[in-house]
């Protein structure tokens, strides 16, 4: 497995979710 293919655009993620019927897992993160 080549890691998780993260979407970074929430709108694009929602569009993919609508197309696939999958739920969205959103990780709010902070890079210090």
């Amino acid at each position: 497995m080549a890691g998780i293919q993260w979407e970074t655009d929430f709108g694009a993620a929602l569009e993919k979710a609508k197309q696939t019927g999958k739920p969205v897992f959103q990780d709010f993160w902070f890079d210090d």
């Binding site: 993260w6 655009d9 929430f10 929602l14 739920p23 969205v24 959103q26 709010f28």
Partner: protein, 155 residues
């Protein structure tokens, strides 16, 4: 990007197959519109949305793999529960309970499974069984206390 529980190949596969995973960066000195929309005050904060973008579950703070699996499963179950798909919700909560009995999210799954069964069957014994399970397996949790009124329901 793939550190902590994300370095676990099972987590990677589960997230990729069952969800659309998205990461939203936070900036404390200049909060993003998404941070403001969802009231993000600490990281990591994790949200589970249905395909229409409605939030159904959130949790805050680092979680190891087993807890992450249980939280993700609970989130899927809550989507079913919140949209009145009780049969699917019951199966999903049971999966969390069976596969991750020691995870922090499992007591909530027991509680919600009992409520979903009651809503599905109108048999109050489901609530009593949830209370019995919580009292036996998770007696110190808030969910056991929340189920306390169900102790009066006869089996």
């Amino acid at each position: 990007m793939n550190t902590g529980p994300y370095s676990d190949e099972k987590v990677q596969r589960f997230l990729q197959e069952r969800f659309i995973p998205v990461r939203s960066r936070c900036f404390w000195d200049n909060p993003t519109p998404l941070m403001q929309k969802y009231g993000i005050k600490w990281t990591p904060t994790f949200l589970v949305h249905d395909p229409g973008g409605n939030e159904h579950h959130r949790f805050v703070g680092y979680v190891p793999s087993d807890d992450l699996f249980a939280q993700l499963g609970l989130g899927i179950g809550k989507i079913f529960y919140d949209t009145d798909r009780m049969d699917e919700a019951i199966r999903q909560f049971q999966t969390v309970i069976d596969r991750h009995p020691d995870a922090g999210a499992s007591p909530e799954a027991v509680f919600l499974k009992g409520v979903a069964e009651y809503k599905h069957t109108h048999d109050a014994k489901a609530l009593r069984r949830a209370y019995d399970t919580l009292k036996a397996k998770y007696p110190q949790t808030e969910w056991a206390r929340r189920a306390d009124p169900y102790s009066a329901i006869p089996l």
